[in-house]
């Protein structure tokens, strides 16, 4: 008896009445979406990737690493010029200090 009740209930649950959706429901949704702007979420990594894609550069990670290495290389190779005491600015500063010392 209980088993019959189970089967009958299952059958009733499986045959619950239903009403089909309007045939144009999907089309309506698609049409409405065209008027809805998308929210742009800002993710730093995604933005960087997008930037690199637009600039046609390969693999942002590699490009960043190469840029860093190049920057360090150029930085170290050009540094002596700026700190050199042989340039004209350095010479004039030295002569100015020497004049000061002369007064003492």
């Amino acid at each position: 008896m209980d088993r019959n009740d189970d089967q009958k209930l299952d059958s009733m649950l499986h045959s619950r009445r239903s009403q089909a959706a309007s045939s144009d429901l999907a089309a309506r949704i698609i049409h409405k979406a065209q008027a809805v702007p998308q929210i742009q979420r800002f993710f730093l990594w995604q933005s960087l990737r997008q930037l690199f894609i637009e600039l046609h550069l390969p693999k942002p990670g590699y490009v960043l690493a190469i840029a860093l290495v190049l920057g360090m290389f150029l930085g170290f190779s050009t540094a002596p010029q700026y700190f050199s005491t042989t340039n004209s600015d350095g010479a004039s500063a030295q002569s100015f200090l020497a004049d000061d010392e002369g007064l003492l």
Binding site: L13, H14, S15, R16, Q19, A21, L25, A26, I29, Q34
Partner: protein, 184 residues
């Protein structure tokens, strides 16, 4: 309306939607509208309300596709079933209870008028009793007796394990058997 990418997986389409692709969104909508409508109808028992909920769910997806994160969710349909269920529950909390549509067609067209009337009454009582079940038991029934969704998928949608789902189903059916005694 022609489907743009019938062979693409849901996840691939969603990645395109996240890049603003309307054709990808259209493909997803065409592919899944009916199944999500069926579930919404199970909850709301009203065509217009179910259509509104499905439309709302898809428009929210289009508006903010970043909410879908493939790393966290295994399947788009599991996640989206959850979205639709939540919208249905919200809808039910906000709006007054809907009257069942008496003109709703019966599935078996070969029944006599008397059989059809009896069945209609039986269905009306069944829907009333299902609506009176606790929320989680009702969700378990609606998900599991909706064609095309397995118990495991239903459990995933509800974020519970299979045993817990089976327990909810058993409790729901026990209650329904008691309340529908005269129709069984």
């Amino acid at each position: 309306m022609p489907v743009a990418w019938p062979d693409k997986e849901d996840n691939e389409l969603l990645a395109l939607v996240q890049d603003g692709s309307h054709p990808a969104f259209a493909t997803l909508v065409e592919r899944h509208t009916d199944r999500f409508y069926r579930l919404a109808f199970r909850y709301l028992q009203n065509r217009e309300a179910a259509e509104d909920v499905v439309q709302d769910a898809f428009l929210k997806l289009w508006e903010d596709p970043g909410k879908w994160q493939p790393d966290k969710n295994n399947k788009f349909t599991t996640w989206f079933y959850r979205v639709v269920v939540n919208l249905c529950l919200d809808w039910q909390k906000r709006k007054r209870p809907l009257q069942l549509n008496e003109d709703m067609p019966l599935i078996d067209e070969r029944e006599t008028a008397e059989q059809a009337m009896l069945r209609r009454e039986e269905q009306r009582i069944l829907e009333r009793e299902i609506a009176a079940l606790p929320e989680r038991q009702r969700s378990a029934l609606n998900l599991c007796f909706d064609a095309g969704i397995s118990n495991q998928d239903a459990a995933d949608v509800m974020r519970i394990n299979l045993k817990a789902l089976q327990s909810l189903l058993m409790r729901a059916k026990t209650t329904l058997k008691q309340r529908m005694k005269s129709y069984l």
